[in-house]
């Protein structure tokens, strides 16, 4: 059972890493240099949140958590494309 403990320690390390990464992304969202910078930080925050959700899914072993991660991936991508489209054309669906 020592390798199970190893996996748990690695899960804790990765969770701490992604928590710090989320804080850095939130700082970049609050203080961006330009509007596309803020969109990029939001996209990165979504990807890091997916990683943290998957870590929670490994920890708990429940399958519902991975469907939450799929939803996050889809809405994050659509949100990024909509923001960039709005910045490019002033409209989302022409």
């Amino acid at each position: 059972m020592t390798t199970q403990l190893l996996v748990n320690i690695a899960l804790g390390f990765a969770a701490v890493c992604y928590a710090i990464a989320l804080l850095l992304n939130a700082w970049r969202i609050l203080r961006p240099r330009d509007v596309p910078d803020r969109v990029l930080a939001l996209d990165t925050l979504t990807v890091n949140a997916i990683a943290l959700i998957v870590l929670a899914g490994i920890w708990t072993g429940r399958l519902v958590v991975f469907e939450v991660a799929i939803l996050f991936a889809m809405t994050g991508f659509i949100g990024t494309v909509a923001y960039s489209r709005f910045l490019l054309r002033g409209d989302i669906i022409e």
């Binding site: 390798t3 199970q4 190893l6 996996v7 320690i9 690695a10 899960l11 390390f13 990765a14 969770a15 701490v16 890493c17 992604y18 710090i20 990464a21 989320l22 850095l24 992304n25 700082w27 970049r28 240099r33 330009d34 509007v35 596309p36 910078d37 969109v39 990029l40 930080a41 996209d43 990165t44 990807v47 890091n48 997916i50 990683a51 998957v54 870590l55 899914g57 490994i58 072993g61 399958l63 991975f66 469907e67 991660a69 799929i70 991936a73 889809m74 991508f77 990024t80 494309v81 960039s84 489209r85 910045l87 490019l88 054309r89 022409e94």
Partner: protein
């Protein structure tokens, strides 16, 4: 066998946590938006891919379903370059001019500035826009 799988899973988790942290530090520390695009689109995608691969290994070798992680990783690998391209296009559109960019080497110019060259807003086309 399970001990070996668990060791590989733990190594993948540590490496992917490191890469996710590196991507976000790059997002904060790099000087420009165009250079900042590199860190999240490469390092963070690799980090998430590592976490998903670790989950697939951990549950696949225990005979439990692992299709969700495969779906998420394929979706992320497809969409990360597309969103990076869109953000780069909006950066070009907002804060660069055609003089700042290298030549395309073809008669057509950069597609992001095509509307400015035609001097005017994009004309609505299609049958649905004719109705008053």
């Amino acid at each position: 066998m399970m001990a070996l799988v668990d060791m590989v899973v733990a190594a993948l988790l540590v490496v992917s946590g490191f890469f996710g942290l590196v991507g976000s530090i790059g997002l904060v520390k790099l000087p420009d938006t165009m250079t900042r695009l590199h860190a999240p689109t490469k390092a963070t995608t690799l980090g998430v891919g590592g976490v998903l691969l670790a989950s697939m290994l951990a549950y696949g070798f225990r005979g439990q379903p692992w299709g969700h992680e495969l779906l998420i990783s394929v979706f992320l690998l497809i969409t990360a370059p597309v969103s990076a391209l869109f953000i780069a296009k909006s950066v070009i559109h907002r804060s660069l001019s055609p003089r700042d960019l290298p030549p395309t080497g073809r008669p057509a110019g950069w597609a992001t500035f095509e509307r400015d060259a035609e001097s005017g807003a994009a004309q609505p086309t299609g049958a649905l826009q004719q109705r008053e």
